[in-house]
């Protein structure tokens, strides 16, 4: 603060004017709501409009196998879907950043982004038309003679994964392309001249260089997947058993806000824990990673 104070009153005023909206946003919409959520999760209804401090909500979570099952399942499917998204996006990002450049590259990139201007609801509806029993793909399979009768492709775990990968593709592609674009071709050429094969180049040059972009993409995709409600519910139906559904049910259907808040906090702990573990594992720092997007 000393530096700005010395620079004159105008700069100081400007600082406070810029600081005010940022603080208002962070306090009123991020920090205080989470404090309220924490307070909610640590209380229990003991009578009409009477509440007492308790760990009952958290105890319910650990004693009820359903919650446990759904919790682990959601985390597991989210990790798989994140890795699948990375695997599918990496070759495309390479083509956009390295193989087709200039206008053609920009055009291909734009084409890949266009589907994401449409809302998630419409895209999911498209998948439902394609995959349901009376849909396009089962009819095609019958016509090709692969199956005798139309089979139901919706309401399976694989379907949920397809939907999740599709929904998060954009958030993986953008950081990947921007981190690959900054890779100097000369490094790849030098490695090739020194006798490195394709896989060695990928492992020792491309991946280390793109690591911040890969990590950023993985973090955002993982978060979006874990917190997704629409796609698992529509594509998975009653079998989807996604953790956000449990939270939604507690809040909206059962009006048990205390239980919902506790489940929400557990989800937050899970996501934070997994992201921190991922950062530690890859030796990245959160701030640097996020700014590379």
């Amino acid at each position: 603060m000393a530096e700005t104070a010395a620079a004159g009153p105008w700069k100081r005023l400007a600082l406070w004017l810029l600081l005010a909206p940022a603080l208002a946003w962070l306090l009123a919409l991020i920090v205080l709501p989470h404090v309220e959520l924490a307070v909610l999760s640590f209380r229990e209804r003991v009578g009409p409009r009477q509440y007492a401090l308790s760990f009952a909500q958290y105890r319910t979570f650990f004693e009820e196998p359903l919650y446990w099952h759904v919790f682990v399942r959601t985390a597991w499917l989210s990790v798989i879907s994140t890795l699948l998204t990375l695997l599918l996006a990496l070759p495309i990002a390479w083509v956009i950043a390295k193989l087709v450049r200039g206008r053609a590259g920009a055009l291909l990139f734009a084409i890949c982004l266009i589907p994401f201007w449409v809302s998630e609801t419409v895209r999911t509806l498209g998948w439902m038309i394609l995959l349901r029993e009376s849909g396009v793909l089962p009819a095609l399979l019958v016509k090709l003679g692969i199956t005798a009768v139309p089979i139901e492709l919706l309401y399976r775990d694989a379907t949920i994964l397809v939907g999740l990968v599709y929904t998060s593709m954009l958030f993986m592609l953008v950081p990947l392309v921007s981190s690959l674009e900054s890779l100097d071709d000369a490094l790849v050429e030098a490695a090739y001249d020194l006798g490195a094969g394709g896989f060695a180049i990928l492992r020792t040059i491309v991946i280390p260089h793109a690591a911040p972009g890969i990590t950023a993409g993985c973090i955002i995709v993982f978060m979006l997947t874990l917190g997704n409600y629409l796609t698992p519910t529509l594509l998975g139906g009653k079998n989807s058993q996604w953790f956000t559904e449990q939270i939604y049910t507690q809040f909206i259907t059962r009006f048990n806000w205390e239980q919902g808040a506790a489940l929400g906090f557990l989800l937050l702990a899970l996501s934070t824990g997994l992201v921190v573990a991922g950062l530690k594992l890859t030796g990245q720092r959160f701030g640097d990673v996020m700014r590379s997007t």
Partner: protein
């Protein structure tokens, strides 16, 4: 590998096959929705039963109520657009002040603040939604109990939806605008100051110049992220 290195034929073929398959994956769901909007059948499912505009122009008299006759549906499109406009305006505004704060000011706690600003990206949307809902209800209840005020905008409704979307869209706006601001050559601003431009005027002008080309980008994000959290509806 890169174009300057020799690539075997199978690799080139495989690359383009993959690009084709990827684009098919991206566009198939959209194409299907677009095509079946014109199918002359009660359900969006094969087989194709002929072209019709009923789903757009149909009226109650013809058993199928088309989009342009369904006033409830049209009103909901209006609601969505209204929310999107509000969220976009607010997010770009606060995103710009945030970007200037992070890129142009030096103050104690700047690093911590910039990390906190990234937090909404890693908080699952549902949790952000329910926490804002819980806090708003608490404030509304307190105001009602203690002061007898009826703060209707804090009850579930459009103002809360706008706030909820805004709370994380700002982060995206901040990231894109500050990335642009960082690349901007500061000496241009200094030159303007030397030539007699006042400081606020200088900032405003430079901001419009550099962000002008970039501003269309952040608004598009809020639009496409809009459907993310259904709980906030």
């Amino acid at each position: 590998m890169i174009p300057s290195l020799p690539r075997p034929l199978w690799l080139r073929t495989a690359t383009w096959l993959y690009v084709g398959a990827f684009l098919a994956f991206l566009f198939l769901p959209l194409a299907v929705v677009a095509v079946f909007a014109f199918n002359d059948a009660p359900y969006p499912a094969p087989p194709w039963r002929g072209f019709t505009l009923d789903w757009f122009l149909g009226s109650a008299a013809r058993a199928r109520v088309g989009l342009f006759e369904d006033h409830e549906l049209l009103a909901s499109i209006g609601t969505s657009s209204l929310i999107a406009v509000w969220v976009t305006v607010l997010a770009v505004l606060i995103g710009t002040t945030n970007a200037f704060l992070l890129e142009r000011c030096r103050f104690w706690g700047r690093q911590a603040l910039s990390i906190l600003m990234l937090a909404p990206l890693v908080i699952p949307g549902v949790i952000l939604g329910i926490s804002i809902l819980a806090l708003a209800s608490r404030i509304a209840e307190l105001a009602d109990e203690l002061l007898g005020w009826d703060l209707d905008f804090l009850r579930p409704g459009l103002p809360l939806v706008v706030l909820g979307q805004f709370s994380y869209v700002v982060t995206i706006a901040t990231l894109t605008i500050s990335a642009r601001l960082r690349r901007f050559d500061r000496t241009l601003e200094e030159a303007a100051l030397n030539l007699g431009a006042s400081a606020p005027r200088c900032s405003a002008r430079s901001c419009c110049r550099i962000c002008g080309r970039h501003w269309p980008a952040p608004p598009r994000w809020p639009f496409c992220c809009r459907s993310r959290i259904s709980i906030r509806r």
